[in-house]
Amino acid sequence: MDKIKVEICCGTACYLLGAASLMSIEDELPAEVRGKVEVEARTCLELCEKENLGGAPYVRFNDTEIMAQATPEKVLERIVELAGGDA
């Protein structure tokens, strides 16, 4: 099975608005999903245009699914869900 791809936007806007707290997410992965996830810090994903700024910080799963106002808890929960669905 392909690894779950998690891209954390580290553009300056997302960084200022909370992405800094998402940086350590790889270390916080629960044991059952370790090795099944690929976490990448990315430069600006360009999701924060205009009225979408308040949605920062953004995280993207598997190239398509976008999470706004991401927090470590929300991201970890979604990773576990995605891993469970594939198992």
């Binding site: 553009g11 300056t12 806007a13 200022l16």
Partner: protein, 464 residues
Amino acid sequence: MLNGATFIRRELMIRIVRAFDDGTLEAELDQIPIKLRPKNSAASRCCVYHDRAILKYRLMAMLGVSVEDETDESKSLAAYYAEKAWGGGTNETKPKTPLSVCGPACSGCPDAKVVSTPNCRGCFARPCVYNCPKKAISIVGGQSVVDQSLCIKCGKCITACPYHAIVKTSVPCEEACPVGAIRKNEHGVAEIDFARCIFCGKCFAACPFAAVMERSQLVDVLAAMKRGEKLVAMIAPAAEKQFPGKIEQLLAACAKAGFGDVMEVALGAEKTTEHETAEFVERMEKDPKTFMTTSCCPAWVNLVGKHMPDLIDHVSLTPSPMVYARELVKAKDPDAKTVFIGPCVAKRSEARRKDVDYVLSFEELGAILAGRKIDVIACEPWPVERPANPTARNYARSCGVTDAVLAEATAKIPGFKLNAKQINGIDRKTCTMVTLHASGKIPVNFLEVMACPGGCQNGPCSLA
């Protein structure tokens, strides 16, 4: 630390930068509060209309307008923006006081008191009753009750209760202020007494309603850039770890954002170390029993000036790293305008005295970078002539100045000894420590004082 208050401040700043660059700021300003709080959306306060009113005041502060000076409530943000004379670093555009309290945002927190909560089990041992030195606690109907007319808020009952049933309510700004400069006025709204205020920024960082606002020079800087003025970004040593990437990458990001030149303030800190060490040695030769205290923390210098006049002669006369950095910039290009960028509120008051044209916080710099889509980690490191000395870069940490002076002196004078102490964060307790050192009760000859615990890196406007 990110929270709802810092989030909204940063979001507004980024919006200002983007709209300024699009040339739509004047038209957009008055729309922002409505866009952020449309009707039927969730309000942070009583209703969206209250939220919008406060957002307007936040934007005013970001335009550099004093919220306290408002005379015409109906005046639009666009009018403030249009009216503002972009004089470019003249004294008129420099905020006289870097902080102001936004009355409508202040929650008017009730005065601090010690109260019993329903966690009380009305126990048999009653340690609260036995430990209260004022006999202020009694048990009424099986519950502890604190008699407010007797209570001296010592907190002994709070620590004694095994059920955590007794708590102290708080007025966070008053609790944070080390000098009693902020208190509620006759309308029950917090007000800063600027004769006492040392601009440490602790109330600004502490208020959970974000009612204390910094008067920003963000738009002044954007306007000066647009006019084509050469602005030199002087990055404080505290910048390390504020943004992802290295200091040299941050310098490059600033250059990309429109600053004409960039430099580390740590280069100025090298000069401070050199001169402060020489000054210290000279003072000790004159009078081995005296002591000297540091001058680089502007909140500390303000504290001595306003509250500890007996200590004025002990404050080092050596200019701060920012002042030396300004000299370096002006020596290279006398026409350049200087912009200090750091985590500090009090630097705004020092900049005013020492002819530094603008001060930006790391948040404001971050907003410019975010608005202009510049990622620090994506920047090629700036080709600095030479990196600053590690001891100079260390100025932003508690103990940093002491270490730098010690290293400088031991290199020059064999067997040099320093009896140094650090005041790591100014609060009411450490103010007492200062007086103990000053009176000679706790001997010291070099007293380093930093207003922020841990040093400037934890300043009120730091990002990390």
